[in-house]
Symmetry: C2
Subunit: 278 residues, 2 copies
Amino acid sequence: MKDDVRTATPSYQVPGLERGLRLMEVFTRDRREFSLAELTRLLDLPRATVFRLVTTLEQNGYLDKEPLRKTYRLGNRVLRLGFEFLASQDVVTTAHPFLEQLSRDTGASAHLGVLDDRDVLYLDRIAGSNHLVSNVGVGTRFPAHATTMGRVLLAGLGADAVQKLYENVDLPKATDQTPQSLPALLERLTQEQEDGYVTSVSAFEAGLSSIAAPVRNSYGTVIAAISIAGPESQLDHATLEGEIRARVCQTAADISNVLGAGKPAHNQKPLSAVATNA
Amino acid sequence: MKDDVRTATPSYQVPGLERGLRLMEVFTRDRREFSLAELTRLLDLPRATVFRLVTTLEQNGYLDKEPLRKTYRLGNRVLRLGFEFLASQDVVTTAHPFLEQLSRDTGASAHLGVLDDRDVLYLDRIAGSNHLVSNVGVGTRFPAHATTMGRVLLAGLGADAVQKLYENVDLPKATDQTPQSLPALLERLTQEQEDGYVTSVSAFEAGLSSIAAPVRNSYGTVIAAISIAGPESQLDHATLEGEIRARVCQTAADISNVLGAGKPAHNQKPLSAVATNA
DNA sequence: GCACTTTGTTTCATATATGAAACAACTAGT
DNA sequence: ACTAGTTGTTTCATATATGAAACAAAGTGC
């Protein structure tokens, strides 16, 4: 019962490649170094196979073999891909000045994030003027269903995709304000998708409020989210729903706008009101 | 001509994997989007094969298929790898405060970079107090042989590796102060390796000076380089060879030291007592 | 509209990548 | 020192991933 949603997966696959990717994904910030034997056990593949995978990856710079011990680490070739991705999306550089402005205007800290699996991955962050805010750095990762940016991103995926993403996975509960079940999550997402933004007050962390809005590419696809976060004392319900909300949404729209600038724009309306308030 | 160096390559390879990696590597910041047909031509592989590679990569999130057109882009899964690499190396976070200090002390801008193929990849950068300096951002890339950090990194590789890296590749000449041939490069590298640092005055860009030093892991391997750069008026030959040089080298050593802290250190001298546990 | 090229998808015989098992090199335990 | 258990490397028959070619769909030009 491993595979198949009934999408059938017509076996248009390159097993060698898929295994290689899986192998690289084993490495995390906590566990940076693995021996061949460990990898063999983790991947549950024959030793010879893992050996070949590892040597191929090493020859291509995606893995480094520590010279003295016989263990492997991620090689710096993986960076190239990451940076080319960032540069090609250029969400980060595009969004940065906007985030700075937003942070300056609101006094709160501003963030940019994308969805990675069921996590939000923080790509940029401007510290707020008040230093009370939580201190998430670039590259950190939080469960998507429990953060404002995450929910914006999930909403952008569409119900079907979210369903598939979370089936057979139970939601880690962050606080009692976060959705505890898949249906509950889906319900909130549909609402939030209509709204075009997501707010939370003391939901993820006590005393911390935040509001997030989606960044879209020229096709209308949600490719990132921005958010601001600050102490509840500063960002209470009233403020979040008023001026602040408008500012965040506007900023997100502006970024989307710039991103879509050079593109064919594919008969998409000139943004501004994509909010579709039904 | 195809089957590369006579390193023999004992065919411990997973062709599917290698091809997949190659495929991802064709994406650059300039050329972010490819159709199947284009990829087929670029990789010089049968159409069916490329098709399978692409679908496998897409299914795993390493490639995104633009919905309307039929073109592919890098998927955000590649980011995960990059960030795990950075986090696992934790050179960046470790080095950052040191770089800030260095920049503050010298007034120049400070950089951190690693080697990627024949390029230096900039991982971090603190802007100097004088805003005249050139404006390289994180993720930018320069020919290694022509920059101070690059040469530090190449020197760290060792002559053999450098030889192999550059054979059949002619050095793009940046200025007439950069080495024009492989032998010339190697000669300078051996000198610079002994020195333990690399300086340049108006070599890469007129009026711009810089000095770089290597960052090593606990095995002694050079894993990164730091540099400071500023206008020649501020960093002339005399300054570079005196106080400033000592500071840069010391900072690099400090960073290396902290990096090696938790590790077995492999009969490496303890250098100085480092605070265990944060 | 109709030939003609280009591109994406599918099929299927066969060349080839793969996993079982043998081998070699190390540890560790008694 | 000898046995038994890891782990890394190699070999080789065969299951399987692959590329040629057929098919389908979508442009392009006249």
